[in-house]
Symmetry: C2
Subunit: 249 residues, 2 copies
């Protein structure tokens, strides 16, 4: 196993692989000091030049920015092992130069330096052949109990869904935080509600458990809330989200 | 203690009070069968006529719909005990006919029939005098460790914040669910992400932990996502939320 990249995903995946007893023989990083830092942690060998690449590894996990994936694939076109990228939004065919190619996508939000229990991280696999896909899934099962075969088409849609479920909801939490701060209310008052909202969404179909003034068609409360939202951006968000809930009623 | 109402909040609050050893002497419900059902559960006496009201109770907790609070307050204008409503969006002065009035607002999303650990439910109290507020807070501490004094003005703002943190985020989870279903992706793939997003929001300022294409200014991914959202409603939500995140960058 060779790990390409030294960013957040490489750090989390590398640590999970190492913890699962999988031998990471090399860590590639363009910047030698970063390659060295991660390699040391994983008891691996750092490299910063593709000429020094081990050519007989079983897997090359490409944990680089989306824009760099195709280029890294070209650098690895002579290897026989499986070259898999780890991105949610890039199609498998970005690695079209690689004979055995695939995707190994951990669907979770990672915080730099905070270890994650990979056992519970969904790993979404795709391969350009049955064997390659099976090999990636077998690797995934070494790390996690949640392993899924997902096509490039599905992964593209899933990435949009994840933006709604993660980035956009976080932004709404941030707006709630701003409202609390502006009114000297401790944000911790909302913590149990936030956690329970998420828990509920994982136990039922969230469409069915929708509540609130928009869902009830409670025009008096909606009007009262809109009058309070003097920030035009918050006002617009409230209006559109209310409209959208009412479309789905 | 007299409980007025037999809905979701009355059910949850009544059970929590009873479990904490607080004597609920009467349960009022307009519909006798509902009053009886809840009263039986709480080892209390059901009433459906305000003429039968115990006039010497220490608290009258009004758990009725927002629109009915003022009317119930008028029915209780002769009692000396504290009359408190339990609504997030109604001002204390809806009970202006009551000498000792207040608010006792449990800030949580309740599911019918699913008991909640009240220990962890924020209880937001307000009273029209120092003594009344102190009495409501003392009652709250019997049920929960999270007790806050919050004015009517603050509670109105907090209610808007809760709509963002609960109703609107749930709607975004529902949209993610719809995208998954339309593409034959199990929604459970997103469960760990949803739970981690909420957990993170309670451990940091969510404004600071914002990630994703909008935050990064990743125009290529944003364009790709928008092209995939053929549903005009989803398209509009994606655009506005992206714009809103970029305003806050």
């Amino acid at each position: 196993m060779v790990l390409i990249g030294t960013g957040n995903v490489a750090w989390h995946l590398g640590n999970a692989l190492s913890k699962a007893g999988i031998d990471v023989v090399q860590v590639f990083g363009r910047r030698p000091e970063r390659a060295k830092a991660l390699a040391t942690q994983l008891q691996s060998t750092p490299i910063s030049d593709f000429n020094n690449l081990a050519e007989d590894a079983d897997f090359y996990l490409v944990c680089v920015s989306d824009a760099a994936i195709a280029e890294v694939g070209r650098k690895l076109q002579n290897v026989r092992g499986i070259v898999a990228h780890t991105s949610g939004s890039v199609r498998m065919d970005a690695l079209s130069k690689n004979e055995n190619r695939g995707v190994f996508y951990p669907l979770q939000t990672f915080t730099a330096g905070v270890p994650v229990d990979f056992n519970n991280v969904p790993l979404l696999c795709e391969g350009n052949s049955t064997q390659t896909e099976a090999a990636l899934m077998a690797l995934a099962f070494e790390l996690s109990t949640k392993v899924f075969a997902i096509s490039s088409d599905q992964r593209e849609k899933l990435h949009v869904a994840a933006v709604f479920a993660n980035n956009f909801t976080n932004h709404l939490f941030a707006q709630a935080h701003r409202i609390c701060e502006a009114n000297k209310i401790p944000f911790s008052v909302l913590h149990p509600l936030i956690l329970e909202t998420a828990r509920k969404a994982t136990e039922t179909n969230p469409e069915e458990s929708q509540t609130g003034p928009a869902k009830r068609g409670d025009a008096v409360t909606i009007e009262k809330h809109l009058n309070q939202l003097t920030d035009p951006n918050l006002h617009e968000l409230y209006l559109l989200l209310t409209k959208s809930i009412q479309k789905n009623v």
